[in-house]
């Protein structure tokens, strides 16, 4: 009797759920997922995105030389398809780097790794023309000395921000910093060090206190962070740094597993060679995340073993590690079947099959440009976008230092270019991180028809 009741109830739930989804304008649902690299706490664009917001670094002598948020129209049905339709300069060069949307997807938070500012853009009032809502300029003072706001990651009603450095020595020891969606400081959580492990277990040889990216698996109450390097290195000329024996000792070698709810570190894992971006699996039974080490060029699996312990192991090489291809951003498929990964130095993207996450296998590679850093995939993974810039002083010099936004179609086997924008020719700067926007997210602001707009040939 009880079983029958449950089944009946379950069918009702499914019917309501499906009906609800159908009623929700087809493109947008408040759900767990987003385009595959973002926080699970926000609305996602499951259909065609209208815009890509490109957080762009200013280049001295190129246009106005300032950092800016560049809006690219990427909807093939739009008259402005493939064009820059808006650019909002924010003043100065701040080492514009990463950005992230709030859980309600109404605001885009973008950080400056040099000046430690956070720009909060309103992307809902007019998704085609983001406007600046607020600038947080006192991040360092409020956080107790955290420098280099990197990842801006949505949690319910608030943002978790990873730091890269500190205001004492500009080295790599740093913290996580929590803000409300309104831009008010909440708390600082320092990365575990030998002196203050904060109850965490140092499982190997390292507890360096470095930070970089953050992701969460809420159903496992798990937060995971990676580790890069401090201000002195990420701001330094890349060629100079490679020859600086002291500087090369200052890279992160750890991944930290946190109790998400407590905001306390639980375990420090050895992942040598600067583990950068983290992508966690989407499927509800996949208790694992991936990261790649920039310097040692390996794919690392961060996984929960049968005993419930979080472990790390390197599961694949990326290209020829001896040539330091420098793996950077990657995008994981929402069914966890594979990932696309960029390597900066050779300008390639590589597809790895994840049929067995313990043994990723490379199946495809293609040169995207003379240098390539970020990749963003649509939720259905049919469209992949690429940008060129890594860091202002790490980008290639001379003719190899091209700056672009390139859009491709991905059919599961190969990439086909749709269009590209030369960010130097357009006087914009170094194209860095991308986030998506869509009218469908903000129904009441959706125009009756696609906007005419006016494409920008250069920055405002």
């Amino acid at each position: 009797m009880r079983s029958e009741t449950l089944k009946k109830w379950r069918r009702t739930v499914l019917a309501i759920g499906l009906a609800s989804s159908a009623a929700m304008a087809a493109m947008v649902t408040p759900a767990f997922a987003d385009e595959t690299c973002m926080s699970p706490y926000m609305a996602k664009i499951v259909g065609q995105e209208d815009f890509v917001y490109v957080w762009t670094l200013g280049i001295e002598g190129v246009g106005d030389g300032q950092d800016k948020l560049v809006t690219v129209d990427v909807n093939p049905k739009s008259k402005n398809y493939g064009q820059v339709i808006h650019a909002l300069s924010v003043g100065g060069r701040n080492e514009a780097h990463h950005s992230g949307l709030t859980d309600d997807r109404r605001y885009l938070w973008a950080g400056g790794l040099d000046t430690n500012k956070l720009w909060i853009f309103d992307v809902h009032t007019d998704p085609a023309k983001p406007r600046l809502k607020k600038v947080v300029t006192d991040f360092v003072a409020k956080s107790g000395g955290v420098v280099g706001p990197h990842t801006t990651y949505a949690l319910p009603g608030r943002m978790m921000i990873t730091g890269l450095s500190n205001n004492k020595d500009h080295g790599g020891r740093t913290a996580l910093v929590e803000y409300t969606n309104e831009g008010e400081y909440v708390a600082t959580y320092w990365m575990p060090t030998d002196e203050n492990l904060q109850g965490a277990v140092k499982s190997g040889k390292y507890a360096d206190g470095y930070g970089y990216d953050v992701r969460v698996l809420p159903r496992r109450n798990m937060m995971v962070t990676s580790s890069f390097t401090g201000w002195s290195n990420y701001m330094m000329d890349f060629g100079k740094m490679l020859q600086d024996k002291e500087a090369m000792k200052r890279f992160g070698n750890t991944v930290v597993i946190w109790d998400l709810h407590q905001r306390k570190p639980k375990k420090v894992l050895d992942v040598p060679g600067a583990p950068l971006e983290i992508r966690c699996a989407w499927q509800p039974t996949n208790n694992w995340c991936l990261t790649t080490t920039a310097l040692t060029s390996k794919v690392w699996l961060i996984y929960e073993d049968d005993a419930g312990e979080w472990q790390a192991k390197d599961v694949a090489d990326i290209g020829d590690p001896s040539k330091v291809p420098l793996p950077v951003a990657f995008s994981i498929a929402q069914d966890d079947s594979g990932f696309l990964l960029n390597t900066f130095m050779d300008g390639k993207v590589r597809y790895f099959d994840l049929s067995d996450p313990h043994k990723p296998v490379q199946k495809y590679e293609k040169v995207i440009g003379k240098q390539v850093n970020m990749i963003s995939g649509s939720w259905d993974w049919k469209r992949q976008y690429f940008t060129s810039s890594l860091l202002a002083n790490w980008d290639k010099k001379g003719g190899d230092g091209e700056q672009f936004f390139r859009a491709y179609d991905w059919d599961g086997e190969k990439l086909t270019k749709r269009f590209e924008i030369d960010f130097i020719e357009a006087k914009l700067g170094r194209a860095h991180q991308m986030r998506f926007g869509a009218y469908a997210l903000y129904a009441k602001h959706r125009p009756a028809q696609q906007p005419e707009g006016s494409a920008l040939a250069s920055a405002e």
Binding site: L18, M42, D114, A187, M236
Partner: protein, 650 residues
């Protein structure tokens, strides 16, 4: 009046609510993604009090209606010594991961509270509708009738959208009425599910979305909020101080080996103790002479305090990221152990290694090329260098300091009424730096103090070599009554010549991780690096060709703290330095004749290194602790001309 259809729908909804949270029967069907609540939590919530829930803001007020239709304020339902769980819903919501989920979770909490009256008496739940048109007080009364009788669970609505909107805005609830493809309104709403935990003082302490709506977790949060003693002591548990202060917080010794292990210090525990540094000027430590002071700038406590504040103020650079201390890090020997050559504004390359500031009080030639003659003047070099602090002008720095509220009156108090000026800024900074004199090292106590046991036998042998066979003391001078370990002059050791003229190897050995090296092609390095700017040393100041590649003799006091070495930071260890000189430096036509092959044995090199390690002053920890106690100047909202609002950009 409710239509029969609506009544039927509500009844159906309530049945869902009642059963929600019960585990699914096994099934092969692939369901849509559901909230973890429906499938049971996969983890045990952390115990109450084992974590902190910092305030996320104040819970706003607003005009609402209760189920009797009476107008009230939302705040009337907060307080009473209770933690409040506030959820926004609308009664016709059909999204299984939306309002029904919130209500189901709250129902589960209500059942659990029956088993724990202690928390039950201090817990209230509120469901507030965001559909004033449909959710009348009557509808809300019906919606909540089964629940409100079983505990403190209140169902509220508003009289109009005008009343509701300010509440939604203040709680960050974006609610959009859905429209169809023709722009016609649909009966459903899009919204992000958020549930708020509010403490008795009306402060928001947590916000839950779909993935966090776990009844046990919410109840533990409520218990945590209500616990009288916040878990401040827990944070200190297991905390161990592991070292003295004057060491890099990010310890990298042995990083070249796979055996390397971190011994990192915690930035958040870097606290210090203010010291009376003037005593070092007035009574220099053993081994040092009287501290010379300009007649027009005698040290005073007010000047020293002001100079210290300026030294650590990151706002004194064009983009507010650079203080003097970013390159002269106190615990790194007032230099930078982490870089061969400094990095300045916007990451721009500086050609040379950061010099230590210890004992600069005694020098008459400052910078590696000796281009300045006093500390008072020297400070303006880094302030204005485009690749250091990058300030556009003297006036810009002075004007900035004048407008910083935390400097109000400080210059006037320190300089007999004189305000901020190019001169007073230099004077204040000079006094602080002049106070960083450091002596009474083991060597001093042995050599000048007569303590035979103060120095090891190896170090004593090293001193013999230093002043004898190796003749290091011909430049790193040692006097009868004191030793500065520098002749305050400039010499050509060949290091600069090699940089300018040397041919670089085709491959560079690069350390990628502890014990992991690769050989990187020169072509690869040059593809990501700008050409190194030329550096000709003293010649750049005098334009005399004989002065090419001459650099100032550094003091060897505290040299164990100031790695890496040489003007370009190219030598990592003291042993590397001794070996460089033992090999005769780098031959060139202007090589100082005192630099010649020394033919030292390995044992003699070891002794020399041990000797140099004995030159660390006994007051460095005092000086470093004092530095740690100094405020680090970073931008706050009190500073002028900083855009905290969008208006500056509109």
């Amino acid at each position: 009046m409710l239509s029969m259809m609506s009544r039927g729908f509500l009844s159906s909804l309530l049945s869902i609510v009642v059963f929600a949270g019960t585990p699914f029967a096994e099934t092969s069907d692939k369901p849509l993604v559901l909230a973890p609540f429906y499938t049971e939590a996969e983890f045990d919530p952390p115990p109450p009090g084992s974590y902190a829930l910092p305030m996320l803001g104040y819970a706003s007020d607003g005009a609402i209606l209760n189920t009797l239709g009476r107008s009230e304020s939302l705040h009337e339902h907060f307080g009473d010594g209770k933690v409040v769980l506030l959820s926004f819903i609308f009664s016709t919501c059909t999204d299984i991961n939306g309002c029904p989920l919130a209500t189901a979770v709250m129902y589960r909490i209500q059942q659990k509270l029956k088993d724990d009256p202690a928390i039950g008496e201090r817990f209230r739940m509120i469901s507030l509708s965001f559909d004033p048109a449909y959710d009348t007080p009557e509808v809300m009364a019906l919606y909540g009738s089964d629940f409100s009788q079983q505990g403190d669970w209140r169902f509220l609505t508003t009289a109009s959208w005008d009343d509701l909107q300010p509440i939604l805005d203040s709680y960050g609830q974006s609610v959009i009425q859905d429209i169809d493809e023709n722009g016609k309104p649909l009966p459903s709403f899009s919204h992000i599910l958020r549930v708020f935990l509010i403490d008795p003082d009306k402060r928001i302490r947590n916000i839950y979305s779909v993935s966090f709506l776990n009844p046990d977790l919410i109840l533990n949060d409520a218990r945590t909020v209500l616990m009288a003693d916040e878990p401040g002591t827990d944070r200190q548990a297991g905390l161990q101080k592991v070292s003295t202060l004057s060491k890099p917080g990010d310890y990298k010794e042995g990083y070249e080996s796979d055996d390397y292990r971190t011994r990192s210090h915690a930035v958040e525990l870097r606290t210090g103790q203010k010291a009376d540094l003037l005593t070092f000027i007035e009574n220099p430590p053993l081994g040092l002479p009287a501290v010379p002071q300009p007649e027009n700038n005698p040290a005073t406590p007010a000047k020293l305090e002001l100079g210290r504040k300026l030294f650590f103020d990151r706002r004194l650079s064009l983009n507010d990221t650079f203080s003097c201390a970013m390159c002269h890090v106190p615990e790194q020997g007032f230099t930078n152990n982490e870089l061969a050559m400094a990095v300045g504004f916007e990451g721009r390359s500086v050609r040379r290694n950061s010099s230590t500031i210890y004992n600069t009080a005694y020098f008459t030639r400052l910078f590696h090329d000796g281009r300045e003659e006093s500390l008072e003047q020297q400070v303006w070099g880094p302030f204005l260098a485009p690749n250091e602090m990058a300030n556009p002008s003297v006036g810009a720095v002075i004007s900035k300091i004048r407008r910083m509220p935390d400097y109000a009156g400080l210059f006037e108090a320190a300089f007999d009424g004189r305000g901020v000026s190019m001169e007073t800024v230099g004077m204040a900074l000079a006094v602080y730096q002049r106070a960083l004199v450091s002596g009474n090292s083991p060597f001093d106590r042995w050599h000048y103090g007569g303590e035979q046991a103060a120095l090891s036998e190896s170090a004593k042998r090293g001193f013999e070599i230093f002043t004898g066979k190796a003749n290091c003391s011909s430049c790193h001078t040692v006097g009868k009554g004191y030793a500065l370990f520098t002749d305050d002059r400039l010499h050509n050791t060949g290091m600069g010549y090699r940089e300018s003229m040397g041919i670089k190897p085709e491959k560079q050995r690069v350390l990628l991780a502890p014990g992991v090296y690769v050989e990187v092609d020169r072509e690869t390095i040059e593809s990501v690096g700008l050409p190194r700017p030329p550096d000709l040393g003293l010649y750049e100041i005098t334009q005399n060709p004989h002065d090419r590649w001459k650099y100032r003799t550094p003091t060897l006091r505290n040299v164990a703290l100031t790695a890496p070495y040489m003007h370009n930071g190219s030598l990592s260890t003291l042993r590397d330095v001794v070996e460089f000189y033992n090999n005769g430096g780098v031959p060139n036509e202007l090589l100082d004749p005192r630099v010649r092959p020394l033919e030292l044995s390995d044992e003699e090199i070891d002794d020399l290194v041990v000797f140099m390690r004995s030159l660390t002053g006994d007051n460095v920890d005092t000086i470093v602790a004092d530095a740690f106690a100094a405020p680090v100047g970073d931008i706050t909202i009190d500073d002028p001309n900083w855009a905290h609002e969008a208006t500056a950009y509109d």
